[in-house]
Amino acid sequence: MRTVLANILAIYRRELSSYFASPLAYAIAAIFWLISGFLFWATLEGIVQQAAFYDAQAQAGAPVPPLDIPYEFIRAVLGVVGSLSLFVLPILSMGLYAEERKRGTLELLATSPLTNWSVAIGKLLGVVTFFITMSLPILVYEAIALANVNPAVQPSVLLLGHAGLILLAAAVLSLGMFISSLTDSTILAAIFTFALVLALWVIDLIARNFTGGLADAIGHLSLLKHYTNLVQGVVDTGSLVLFASYIVLGVFLTAQSIDALRFQRS
């Protein structure tokens, strides 16, 4: 058990250090920060204008729907950041295995006393850590924006939303890792992972716009729907189990596909 943990740690460290040594990773992070910063500002501006509009209406005596500005703001920000992440995640996951296959380093990993599981888990932890680093500034922006709100926003709400964002990312990255393990072309891996993300969207749309047995069943599987739940502060064991299932599924499929590679390599 100790050696397994040591192996996972070794892979994790290598993976993480390679992100910090890679110009691509910096470019992705920079673009992500630029766009997310702009979206944050735009959302904040929108919310402020909406609040001013409601204030004006209330002073004129018109009926105003109850509105919790801080929570509405958190929901909106995490909504757009979640969508933005879906575009960035395939780029993060595309190289996880495809790159190793292309460079021949998979041959090193496959002939070292490591299980496929520990390699996959180490890699996933590495890329999720990188994503956390990427999403951290948004948490800081929110904390600053909401610092002087009265009554104060519970930090737990904010943290829960971000935990949801990380779980969503981990699930997508895990499946992206599996896709990456199927090919030695990073471009192909990215394209197929984008297709997967689009499929997740379609699932979410079906779940939202249709009713009935099938739509409900699909709705239960929708990552985005469960993400929205967490962002709204609803902690449901079902959501957590669903995220965990997606993550484990991705890791399991990856380990299997790498094992299968040994047999089909011909």
Binding site: I11, A21, G104, T105, L108, T111, S112, S266
Partner: protein
């Protein structure tokens, strides 16, 4: 230490290797020699557990490579055909990672890495990014990663590819050093490499092992040791009789060569092993009044063995006859043996090595 029995690997319908059987004793260096595409890499990959075999068994240190993959992986150091390197890491960082995943304990790691760097002459490059290294250095980092965890069995697939002559000598010496307490199996298509470094050679061609032996006995067995080539004038039979009586001569044969000057013949005298009858031959010829025009010592080389074993058996082999022809001085007329056109089985002079065959 390594036992391979009846190993076969079939890709689709074409066999990459067929019925390969050999074994390597502890502390021994086995050279796996063969032309490109003969199945060397496939065999290495099966031994390392990277590829499953279609048939047969391969055992490393008593463990079947596929069934007990983990035990085998703990005991081998493996340099694949292309060195598996992470370009964004430093040499030291990479070796540290490899030592970690190979299970070297944290306490030993630093000293093991320094030792591997030392052995591969990489100390001054320890902080350099692998991306910035030349091909030769990368190859050496590849070797360093195979030995960093001090495995009992080391598998090297073409370890000297891309190195300059000086580095090749270093790597060969390194491999020899390793053999003291490791078992080494290396593949190559470079002949001098095996004759210089290996205790035993397995020659593989078209997926089959065609010979396994020590370099010396292979040469002995297949080409018949060293000998002399004589160009003389006179009665062929009488001369042969006379030469056969000389002590140390195993047998004499006339070489059928076209375009010899009139009345001249070339004979090949094959010596018993570990004898040098050169002087005695000269004395015998002089005493019998035979006119001697040329006398040359011919050392059978591994190249001959290799060519003999790996060249297809055709009545007239274009490449071989070419080699023979270039040796003959383009002298005039007189076809001594017009009915014979097949190339002689000369232990020919070493053709310009097969190193640049790729």
């Amino acid at each position: 230490m390594i036992e391979v029995e009846h190993l076969s690997k079939i890709y689709g319908s074409t066999p990459a290797i067929e019925d390969v059987t050999f074994s390597v004793a502890p502390g021994e260096i086995l050279g796996f020699l063969g032309p490109n595409g003969a199945g060397k890499t496939t065999t290495m990959r099966i031994l390392s557990g990277y590829l499953p075999a279609s048939q047969g068994t391969a055992k490393v240190a008593g463990f079947e490579v596929h069934e007990h993959s983990m035990q085998v992986r703990q005991r081998i150091g493996y340099l694949p055909e292309t060195p598996p390197l992470y370009p964004e890491m430093t040499v030291e960082g990479f070796l540290n990672f490899v030592a970690q995943i190979k299970g070297v304990s944290a306490g030993d790691r630093a000293s093991r890495i320094t030792l591997a760097l030392q052995k591969c002459n990489l100390l001054e490059k320890r902080k350099t990014l692998i991306r910035k290294l030349s091909k030769g250095f990368r190859q050496r980092v590849g070797i360093a990663q195979a030995i960093v965890h001090d495995p009992p069995v080391i598998i090297l697939d073409e370890p000297t590819v891309g190195l300059d002559p000086r580095q090749i000598i270093d790597v060969r010496n390194l491999i020899k050093q390793l053999a003291n307490d490791h078992t080494v199996i290396l593949s190559t298509h470079i002949l001098p490499e095996v004759s210089m470094t290996c205790d035993r050679i397995a020659i593989i061609n078209r997926g089959r092992v065609v010979a396994t032996n020590t370099p010396e006995s292979l040469m002995e067995q297949l080409v018949g040791g060293s000998g002399y080539e004589l160009e003389i004038a006179g009665n062929s039979l009488a001369i042969q009789q006379c030469l056969k009586r000389v002590k140390g001569v195993k047998y004499v044969e006339e070489m059928r060569i076209e375009n010899m000057p009139e009345h001249r013949i070339k004979v090949r005298v094959v010596a018993e092993s570990n004898t040098e009858p050169g002087h005695a031959i000269a004395v015998a010829l002089v005493q019998n009044g035979v006119k001697l025009y040329e006398m040359r010592r011919v050392q059978a080389s591994l190249e001959d063995v290799f060519l003999e074993l790996t060249t297809e058996e055709k009545p007239v082999d274009p490449t071989e006859s070419e080699t023979v022809e270039t040796e003959i001085p383009a002298s005039a007329s007189a076809n001594v043996n017009s009915e014979e056109t097949a190339p002689s089985s000369t232990p020919s002079q070493i053709p310009e090595s097969t190193e640049d065959a790729e």
